[in-house]
């Protein structure tokens, strides 16, 4: 019987939304407060949803130890207390939460093999959230 399992992880990071090839005025118009040259930060919550049949012997879609081990190493440790704008992941790109959501989805899609990936959802604040379910 197929079940969806969702786990939430938390990390804090800063970013600045800025396009190098635009004027200051234009950056201000597009990104507003998020263009502050000193950057600003968020407590991100990442929700990853995986699915699969429930293993009769364990009662699990996938062992949480595997999901937590992977997520802590590949997501939390990679992004926690970093400045996203300075990471190679976002070289030449503006680190919006849309892009972060796609990056994190791709990391699971590429390397997490214990269950089927359904969705990555990120809360940037309690008011803004983003979801990615893969290329349509």
């Amino acid at each position: 019987m197929k079940v969806h399992l969702t786990r939430r992880y938390h990390f804090a990071a800063s970013h600045r939304l800025h396009l190098a090839d635009c004027s200051d005025a234009e950056n201000q118009r597009i990104y507003g407060k998020c263009n502050n040259p000193h950057g600003h930060g968020h407590n991100y919550a990442v929700e990853v949803t995986v699915s699969g049949p429930v293993d009769i012997a364990t009662g699990m879609v996938c062992n949480l130890a595997d999901l937590d081990g992977f997520s802590n190493k590949e997501i939390v440790e990679r992004f926690d207390h970093t400045n996203l704008s300075m990471l190679p992941d976002f070289e030449g790109e503006v680190p919006t939460t849309e892009r972060l959501c796609v990056k994190i989805y791709d990391i699971y899609k590429r390397s997490f093999k214990h269950a089927h990936l359904e969705k990555v959802r990120i809360e940037e604040t309690a008011k803004n959230s983003f979801e990615y379910t893969g290329r349509a």
């Binding site: 019987m1 364990t58 130890a65």
Partner: protein
């Protein structure tokens, strides 16, 4: 089609143990959850039903009736219980969040008349939940 979701809460204890495993295997697969003295959680049950809005009442489902079914079949049956020892389904299945969602679905499903059961979500805590949509 409209969807309605109602929440319920129950606190229960459990442990994860498969009698077919050696003690070492139980420890390796289930980690802390293998402690045979058990441990507990504040579970949140979220039941989503779907259907058409009744012309006269404006309801998709009689909420009082849904609440009574949820309380009788799941919340009261599991609240302040030891899931392994007091909920018959878990005499043979591991009471993981995944399996609790499946058991809740199977208990609720036969009592749904007008509205159809769409999803049963069970939160073990704010950072972990399982969704069951029935057998597809």
């Amino acid at each position: 089609m409209i969807y309605l979701t109602r929440k319920g809460e129950f606190a229960a204890s459990h442990y994860y143990h498969n009698p077919a495993f050696t003690p070492e295997e139980n420890q390796r697969v289930f980690g802390k959850c293998a402690n045979m003295n058990g441990h507990g959680h504040n579970y949140v049950l979220e039941v989503t039903v779907k259907g058409e809005i009744d012309e006269r009442t404006g309801f998709v489902v009689d909420l009082k009736e849904l609440k009574d079914i949820m309380n009788r079949e799941v919340v009261d049956a599991m609240d302040h219980r030891h899931l392994n020892k007091e909920v018959p389904e878990f005499a043979s299945a591991i009471p993981t969040t995944e399996n609790i969602a499946i058991v809740a679905w199977k208990r609720l499903q036969p009592h749904m008349k007008v509205a159809k059961l769409h999803r049963v979500r069970v939160y073990e805590n704010a950072d972990l939940f399982a969704d069951f949509y029935g057998e597809e």
